[in-house]
């Protein structure tokens, strides 16, 4: 059996209802985009989990390197002044 004949892999994103973001929910193999959409409906939305589906070929996604996680994301940890809770206000106006 040749491994070259496997259908390509697709990532599936589902919008659970109007007004919400599409969210990554899994992946599947399909020969082309139209088939991927159809299979995504059968595999990931059997119980009204979605109102819209996106599929994208997995090899078309570029991701950050987990090895760079600290370098990429940690520098934000000491910038607490970016959060509203950093600022102490009198009770009378603290709902601001």
């Amino acid at each position: 059996m040749s491994h070259g004949s496997e259908w390509p892999l697709w990532e599936v994103f589902v919008r659970s209802k109007a007004g919400l973001d599409h969210k990554h929910c899994g992946s599947l193999h399909a020969a082309d985009a139209a088939m991927a959409i159809q299979l995504a409906r059968d595999v990931y939305t059997r119980r009204q989990e979605g109102t819209s589906v996106w599929v994208v070929r997995s090899d078309q996604i570029t991701a950050s390197d987990p090895g760079d996680k600290e370098m990429y994301f940690d520098p934000a940890a000491d910038k607490v002044y970016r959060h509203p809770t950093f600022y102490v206000l009198p009770d009378a106006v603290d709902h601001m």
């Binding site: 059996m1 491994h3 004949s5 496997e6 259908w7 390509p8 892999l9 990532e11 994103f13 599409h22 990554h24 899994g26 992946s27 599947l28 193999h29 020969a31 082309d32 985009a33 139209a34 088939m35 059968d42 595999v43 059997r46 119980r47 996106w54 994208v56 070929r57 997995s58 090899d59 078309q60 996604i61 570029t62 991701a63 950050s64 390197d65 987990p66």
Partner: protein, 361 residues
């Protein structure tokens, strides 16, 4: 739905730690496990952890797919349209669960074809329960109640597995699984309460045949399960085989009373000191015989899977040929999403979803 705790792993696959750098990676990995953190697909992990997961997740996936066969047997003979629709939905769920799990295993670097090849060559195991025949309609309800019940008991702790893609698949599966057990119990209850004597006898007969294989689903006893400790250490397994089995027996005895059936074990007795139900000895020879290929339906099940795969080969090839032919042409009518959707989808890639290497690389 149908995992089975089977320690079929070779005794020790751990390799000598190659370098100081490896040792440091190992140390950080252990630290994350101890802290209860999740491991994602692209994170460093020890080889043995990866292999253990590939084996367990693929066995689990195979069990879902082979598990479609005994129930598929009754779809055309369901007693009413309602029961047929329910059974169809359940069998479709099992196919879906198999797909979630194959996808989770693929994140570890194995391919779908490799896994399927291993199953068809008899190298990969699947849950021994599916090597028993489904003789009557009452078997459908009993499988839902006992087999899915045991599977749920086994699977709920895996929702907290340290390997995140597996845990996520399990959460989805467990959410869908509860319908499987409830529909089974309800189907049996209908026969017991509203049925004829012959139907009640049919339910009892099905329970008699499925009880022992169901409690075998939790795998060998703890003292015969040498790899369990390592899986516990890694947070792949959370609760021991015997503990889960006891929990299942305790829950099921009460349900059997409601149903009005007896469980085929004369030694079943409440133990006040333990606060649990005692039960009789399990025939582990039977378990190992069925696991290793000599159950009532092993050959039939595997032959059905191989035939489905081989007879579908031309369809898979044709779909791929069609797709590649379409992709060299300028996009024709009805091809692909419109501009709007296309740009929206491109936006999604910036949000760094869990991504895998394309299998073509």
């Amino acid at each position: 739905m149908y995992t089975q705790a089977m320690d079929t792993a070779p005794k020790d696959e751990r390799e000598a730690i190659a370098s100081v750098e490896q040792a440091e990676l190992q140390r950080r990995f252990d630290q994350r496990i101890d802290a209860g953190e999740f491991i994602e697909a692209k994170d460093w992990m020890p080889d043995h952890y990866r292999k253990t997961l590939v084996r367990q997740i693929s066995q689990h996936a195979h069990s879902e797919i082979v598990g479609m066969l005994p129930e598929g047997n009754w779809i055309t003979r369901a007693p009413s349209l309602k029961r047929k629709a329910i059974l169809l939905a359940k069998v479709q769920d099992e196919g879906g669960h198999g797909l979630y799990l194959y996808a989770a295993a693929e994140t570890l670097g194995t391919s779908r074809d490799q896994m399927i090849e291993a199953l068809h060559a008899g190298k990969a195991k699947y849950s021994s329960i599916f090597n028993y025949p489904t003789l009557t309609w009452a078997d459908m309800g009993t499988i839902g109640w006992l087999v899915d019940g045991a599977a749920i008991m086994n699977q709920v702790p895996i929702c907290r597995c340290s390997y995140a893609p597996y845990a996520r698949a399990m959460i989805r599966i467990c959410r869908e699984e509860s319908f499987h057990q409830r529909q089974g119990f309800e189907s049996l209850l209908t026969m017991m309460r509203e049925g004829t004597d012959a139907q009640r006898a049919m339910v009892q007969d099905a329970v008699d045949r499925w009880w022992w294989p169901s409690i075998m689903m939790f795998g060998p006893p703890d003292d015969k399960s040498p790899n369990s400790a390592q899986s516990m250490r890694w947070g792949i397994k959370r609760i021991s085989n015997d503990e889960l089995r006891q929990k299942f027996v305790d829950a099921t005895v009460e349900q059997a009373k409601v149903l009005g059936v007896t469980l085929p074990d004369p030694e079943l007795k409440w133990n006040d000191a333990r606060g649990h139900w005692d039960f009789g000895a399990i025939d582990w020879d039977e378990f190992w015989r069925v696991v290793s290929g000599d159950g009532p339906c092993n050959r039939e099940r595997l032959a059905a899977r191989v035939a489905a795969w081989e007879e579908g080969a031309w369809v898979r090839e044709a779909a791929l040929a069609y797709a590649s032919k379409r992709s060299v042409r300028p996009s024709g009518p009805g091809q692909g999403p419109g501009i709007d959707q296309r740009s929206a989808a491109a936006g999604a890639t910036g949000s760094t979803p869990a991504v895998r290497e394309a299998e073509s690389s």
